[in-house]
C-alpha cells in the first residue's frame, strides 16, 4: 500500500466523483427552488448520454474519422458536449412542463411519483427506440497515458475532471453574477414571497430544470467517454447515488452537491483498497462488492449525525410547504 497506490485511487475517485457531482447538481438545484426531488433526473442523465451518442455519431459522420478527419477529435467533443447539453435542456423543460408544473399546488409526494413515472417512461422509450441493447460510445479522442511518478493518468481523466470543474465554476458564476442566477437564489430563499415581487416562478423553475438537465447531459457524455458502454438503465444506479450525494451535500446547496459528489466517489473508490487492506491485515476474504454497502452505511451515519447534510442549512420552518 504505497503512496502511489493511494494517489492512483485518488485520481480515479476524482473522475468517478465528477459524474456524481454533475448529476447531484441537478437534484440540488431543483430542490432549492421547488423543495422536491426530481426523481426523473437520473434518467435525464441517461437520455443525455444517448443524445450525446447520437450527436457524436452524427458529427463524426460529417467530419470523418481517423487521419482524414476535417476536425480534430477534441473539437468534435466540444461540439458534442455543447449541442447535447442544449438538446437535453429541452428534455428537462418537457419533464418540468409535463410532470411538475401541473402539480405545483399538489402535495410534494405526488410530484415525486410523477417524477418516478417519467423516469420509467424515459427508460422504456429508450428500450423501444434503441432496441434495449447496450451501445458503444465512440472514442472521440485518442487516449494517452501519462506516468507521473508511478501514477497512471490518462488524458481522458484529466479532461473529465477539468470539464466538470469548469462547468461547476460556470454554474457558480451564473448563480452569483447573473440576473437570472440571482433570481434563482432569491427563489430558493423564499418560494412564496419572491414570485410576488415579479420574479416568475415558472420561468425560474423551468430554467432550473434546463440547467440541471444540461449538466446531466455533460455528465452522460463524460461517462460515455470513460466507460464507453451505454444502457437504458445506466441512469438508475448512478442517478440514485448522485441523489444520495445531493442529500449528503445538504438539500439545495450547490456547493454541497459538488463536494458531496466528489466525496461519494472517493468513498466508493477507496472502499476497494480499504477492503484489500483489511483482508490482508486480518486474513479475511471480503469481496469488493461490499462497496455499496459500506458507502451507503457511511452516508447513513453522516446523515444521522448531520441531519441537514454536510453543507445544508438546518431544517427550518421555511421548508415546510
Amino acid at each position: 500500500m504505497s503512496f502511489t497506490f493511494l494517489m492512483q485511487n485518488l485520481v480515479n475517485a476524482l473522475q468517478w466523483g465528477s459524474f456524481y457531482a454533475l448529476i447531484a447538481l441537478g437534484y440540488s438545484m431543483v430542490y432549492s427552488i421547488l423543495m422536491l426531488f426530481n426523481f426523473a433526473h437520473g434518467d435525464i442523465f441517461m437520455v443525455g448520454a444517448y443524445i450525446g451518442l447520437g450527436v457524436a455519431t452524427l458529427l463524426l459522420a460529417l467530419v470523418g474519422t481517423g487521419a482524414g478527419a476535417m476536425l480534430p477529435g477534441w473539437v468534435v467533443l466540444v461540439f458534442t458536449i455543447l449541442i447535447s447539453m442544449f438538446l437535453t435542456a429541452f428534455v428537462g423543460l418537457i419533464v418540468e412542463r409535463v410532470g411538475y408544473r401541473p402539480l405545483r399546488e399538489a402535495p410534494r409526494a405526488s410530484a415525486a411519483i410523477t417524477g418516478l413515472m417519467i423516469g420509467i417512461i424515459l427508460e422504456t422509450s429508450n428500450i423501444i427506440l434503441m432496441g434495449g441493447q447496450r451501445v458503444k460510445f465512440p472514442q472521440l479522442i485518442e487516449s494517452v497515458t501519462y506516468n507521473i511518478g508511478g501514477v497512471f493518468v490518462t488524458n481522458m481523466k484529466i479532461m473529465i475532471v477539468l470539464v466538470s470543474l469548469g462547468l461547476m465554476l460556470a454554474l457558480h458564476l451564473f448563480v452569483t453574477r447573473s440576473k437570472w442566477g440571482m433570481a434563482m437564489r432569491a427563489m430558493a430563499f423564499d418560494y412564496v414571497v419572491v414570485p410576488l415581487v415579479g420574479v416568475p416562478l415558472n420561468t425560474i423553475a423551468a430554467m432550473t430544470f434546463a440547467i440541471g438537465s444540461a449538466l446531466a447531459a455533460a455528465a452522460g457524455i463524460l461517462f460515455g467517454l470513460a466507460y464507453p458502454v451505454l444502457d437504458p438503465f445506466m441512469g438508475v444506479s448512478l442517478g440514485w447515488k448522485a441523489f444520495v450525494a445531493a442529500i449528503l451535500g445538504g438539500r439545495g446547496s450547490i456547493m454541497g452537491a459538488c463536494l458531496a459528489g466528489f466525496m461519494l466517489g472517493f468513498i466508493e473508490i477507496m472502499t476497494v483498497p480499504a477492503i484489500q487492506i483489511v483482508n490482508r491485515l486480518f486474513n479475511l476474504n471480503l469481496g469488493s462488492n461490499l462497496r455499496d454497502l459500506i458507502a451507503y452505511s457511511i452516508v447513513l451515519l453522516i446523515l444521522i449525525f448531520r441531519p441537514h447534510g454536510l453543507f445544508g442549512e438546518p431544517y427550518s420552518a421555511k421548508l415546510r410547504l
Partner: protein, 453 residues
C-alpha cells in the same frame, strides 16, 4: 382535499345513473351472490363457451388479456411489419361476448333477482354480531376467489400476488398516507420478511444447498408457517426501528432519505451475505403460501390496520401530519406515535414479504430494489392516500393492469406510468383518498327507501 377539477367518469352520466338505479337496492351480500354465480357459471360452461366463440382457451382475466393480445398483434403489424392475422381481431368481440355472458349477465340477473333475499339475509345477519356477519361475507368472498383462482394456475398466482400487493399497499399507506411522510424502505422491509421467513422454513424443514440440511422434519411442519411469517414481520419491524430512531427527531424529507439509504443497505447486505445465498438468493421454499393462508393473513392485516387507523391512537398520525405543534400541545407523544406506526407498517410489509417468498418459492436481492419501490408507491398513490379502500383499489388495479397489459410487452411500461401521471395531475392524492372504511355501513341491507344515505 378539495378536488381541483371535476373528474370525468369514463361512463356518460345517464349510463352511470341507470347502473346506479339498477343496483341501488343490492347489498354487498347480493353482489357476492352475483359474483359467485359468475364463477360457477364459468366453471360449468367456460371452456365450452370459449370453444364455441373460437377462443383457444378460457380467457384468464375477464377477456382483457385476449383483447390486448389482439391489439398488440395489430401494433406489431402496423409498426414492426409482422404478418397480419385477422383471426386475432375477431377475438376482441368474442372476448367481449364471453365477458358479457359469463360475468355481466349473471351478475346483473342474479343480483337483481336475489336482492330481496339478500336484503333479508343481510337484515338477519345484522341482528347477529358484527363479527359473525363479517365472517359470512368473507367466507363468500373466499369461495368466489377460490373457485375463480382454481380454474387456472396463472389466475391463482395473479390472485395470490394481488392479495399480497394489497397488504403491502395498506401498510405503506400508513406511512405515506396517514402519517404524511415519504418512506422508501418498504421493499427493504419486504426483503427482511422474505429472507427471515425463508431462513425459518427453508433452514429448518428443507434440504438446501445454501442453508444446509433440514434440521427438523415432521408432517405438520406447515403449521409453523404463521410463526415463520410473524418472525419475518418482527425482524422487519426491528429493521424499521433502526430507521425510526434517527428519522423522527426531525421533520420534513428526512425519512425519505434515510429510508432510501436503508433500502440500498439492506439490498446490498443480502447481496453480500453468502450464508443467505448472496446475489442468487434462496430458493426451494415449501409451498405453504396457499390461497387460504394468504387470504387469512391479508384479512387479518387489513383488520388490524383498519383498526389502528380508526383508533384515536392511529388518528394521532393525522394530527401529527396536519399540524404537529398542535398535536404536541394536545398531549400526543408525536415521536412515539410515529415510531409505533412505522414499525407496525414494517411488520406487515415483512409479513407480505414472507408470503411473497413462499408464493414465488425463490427470492433474491434484486426483487426488492428500486423497481419494487416504484411499483408499491404507484399502488399507494394510484389508489388514494389515507384510505384503506383506496389501497385495495390501487393494489388491485395496478396488479391486474400490469397482468392485463402483458401482451403489450414493453409498451406496458409506458401505459401504466402515463396513467399514473394523469391520476396525479387530476387527483393528486389518488383515486379514493381520505375515505374511511365503515364495515357496518358496507354490510348493511339496502332498501330503495334508504337510498338517500
Amino acid at each position: 382535499m378539495a378536488q381541483t377539477k371535476t373528474t370525468s367518469s369514463p361512463l356518460p352520466r345517464g349510463v352511470k345513473n341507470a347502473v346506479g338505479r339498477l343496483f341501488a337496492s343490492v347489498p354487498l351480500l347480493g353482489f357476492l351472490f352475483g359474483f359467485l354465480a359468475c364463477v360457477l357459471m364459468e366453471m360449468a360452461v367456460g371452456d365450452q363457451l370459449a370453444n364455441l366463440l373460437g377462443l383457444s382457451k378460457m380467457p384468464v382475466l375477464f377477456g382483457i388479456v385476449t383483447i390486448f393480445k389482439a391489439i398488440a398483434g395489430l401494433i406489431n403489424t402496423l409498426f414492426k411489419g409482422a404478418a397480419f392475422d385477422p383471426g386475432t381481431l375477431v377475438h376482441i368481440p368474442m372476448a367481449l361476448i364471453y365477458f358479457s355472458i359469463v360475468y355481466l349477465a349473471p351478475i346483473t340477473i342474479v343480483t337483481r333477482l336475489t336482492s330481496r333475499l339478500a336484503n333479508s339475509l343481510a337484515d338477519a345477519l345484522q341482528q347477529t354480531s358484527l363479527l359473525f356477519s363479517a365472517l359470512v361475507h368473507l367466507g363468500l368472498l373466499y369461495a368466489i376467489l377460490h373457485f375463480w383462482g382454481g380454474m387456472n394456475d396463472y389466475r391463482l398466482i395473479v390472485l395470490k400476488l394481488t392479495l399480497i400487493a394489497i397488504l403491502v399497499t395498506l401498510s405503506l399507506n400508513i406511512i405515506n398516507g396517514y402519517m404524511g411522510e415519504f418512506s422508501c424502505s418498504h421493499p427493504g422491509f419486504m426483503a427482511i420478511g422474505a429472507y427471515m421467513s425463508s431462513m425459518f422454513t427453508v433452514g429448518l424443514f428443507v434440504d438446501d444447498k445454501v442453508l444446509g440440511a433440514a434440521k427438523l422434519s415432521f408432517s405438520l411442519a406447515y403449521l409453523s408457517f404463521p410463526l415463520a411469517l410473524v418472525f419475518g414481520g418482527l425482524m422487519a419491524a426491528i429493521g424499521a426501528l433502526i430507521i425510526a430512531i434517527p428519522s423522527f427527531k426531525t421533520r420534513g424529507d428526512y425519512l425519505a432519505i434515510i429510508s432510501l439509504a436503508f433500502l440500498f443497505i439492506i439490498k446490498s447486505l443480502f447481496e453480500n451475505v453468502q450464508a443467505l445465498g448472496g446475489a442468487r438468493g434462496i430458493s426451494g421454499q415449501p409451498n405453504w403460501a396457499t390461497l387460504p393462508v394468504i387470504f387469512a393473513v391479508v384479512v387479518i392485516g387489513f383488520w388490524a390496520i383498519n383498526n389502528f387507523v380508526n383508533s384515536t391512537m392511529g388518528k394521532a398520525l393525522n394530527a401529527v401530519r396536519d399540524e404537529e405543534s398542535a398535536a404536541e400541545a394536545m398531549t400526543i407523544n408525536t415521536r412515539k406515535t410515529k415510531m409505533a406506526a412505522f414499525m407496525f407498517a414494517a411488520f406487515w410489509a415483512g409479513m407480505a414479504g414472507g408470503l411473497l417468498a413462499h408464493v414465488m418459492r425463490y427470492i433474491n436481492p434484486s426483487m426488492f430494489g428500486i423497481q419494487k419501490l416504484a411499483e408499491v408507491l404507484a399502488m399507494v398513490y394510484f389508489g388514494g392516500l389515507n384510505s384503506v379502500v383506496g389501497s385495495i383499489v390501487g393494489a388491485v388495479s395496478i396488479s391486474l393492469l400490469s397482468e392485463a397489459l402483458r401482451p403489450l410487452e414493453i409498451l406496458k411500461w409506458i401505459v401504466i406510468p402515463l396513467l399514473l401521471i394523469l391520476v396525479m395531475i387530476y387527483r393528486p392524492t389518488g383515486l379514493i383518498a381520505f375515505r374511511e372504511f365503515n364495515i357496518r355501513r358496507i354490510l348493511q341491507p339496502r332498501r330503495p327507501e334508504s337510498k338517500e344515505v
